[in-house]
């Protein structure tokens, strides 16, 4: 059974700091996704990673994928308050399996 584990589950950080969220998954997969969810809202697609070594960046967020290690990272550079949200990684193996999410709170 495919399992997706994220850590940390909760993260409180100061504005301007850098941090990384980790996502491990248990079996091979075709695709890895990162989503953002604001309270009470739906999921916003951030990144789709398709191959080993893939790196994508959008603003202060950068995601990478190491399929050999079954690991993806979401790196936050110089965090700002607007990035406060819950971030999910998800792995696609015919169906999308989500991690439990990382609740990120950025302090002004």
């Amino acid at each position: 059974e495919l399992k997706v584990e994220q850590n940390p589950l909760f993260l409180s950080m100061q504005e301007g700091k850098n941090y990384t969220i980790y996502c491990n998954y248990s079996t091979t997969s075709d695709r890895l996704y990162w989503y953002r969810q604001d309270p009470g809202k739906s999921l916003e697609s951030l990144f789709v990673l398709l191959s080993n070594g893939a790196v994508k960046q959008e603003g202060r967020l950068m995601a990478s994928l190491d399929t050999k290690a079954r690991l993806s990272t979401l790196h936050i550079t110089a965090a700002v308050h607007d990035l406060s949200a819950t971030y999910f990684c998800a792995v696609d193996r015919d169906k999308i399996i989500f991690g439990k999410g990382t609740r990120l709170h950025i302090l002004p």
């Binding site: 996704y33 999910f88 169906k95 999308i96 989500f98």
Partner: protein, 112 residues
């Protein structure tokens, strides 16, 4: 393009009742998946429909059933509602072979 639309946005039902949630996929998408997201948890896969048939199913009881119509829209039905069925129900659509799935805004179901 309206994107993925779900209706209703909010719903309150009584334990034991039945509910139907609806989803219209993004234009050009032929695959619809349903997820249940309990408060503070990640979305859990319920099932996926393609060509009007259930293609994949997660670990949900038979009380959860669905349907896909020729226009690719979909319904999720839940019978004999339990308090534990209270959650945000998300619909996602995709095009076969494409990398990305798009989520609707969800239906917040409260069972009292």
């Amino acid at each position: 393009d309206a994107g993925v639309t779900q209706s209703p946005t909010h719903l309150i039902k009584t334990r034991g009742q039945q509910v139907t949630l609806r989803c219209s996929p993004k234009s050009g998408h032929d695959t619809v998946s349903w997820y249940q997201q309990a408060l503070g948890q990640g979305p859990q896969f319920i099932f996926q429909y393609y060509e009007e048939e259930e293609r994949q199913r997660g670990n949900f009881p038979d009380r959860f059933s669905g349907h896909q119509f020729p226009n690719y829209s979909s319904e999720l039905n839940v019978n004999a509602l339990l308090l534990g069925d209270s959650a945000l129900y998300l619909c996602a659509s995709s095009r076969t072979g494409a990398a990305e799935a798009f989520f609707g805004q969800g239906t917040r179901l409260t069972v009292v």
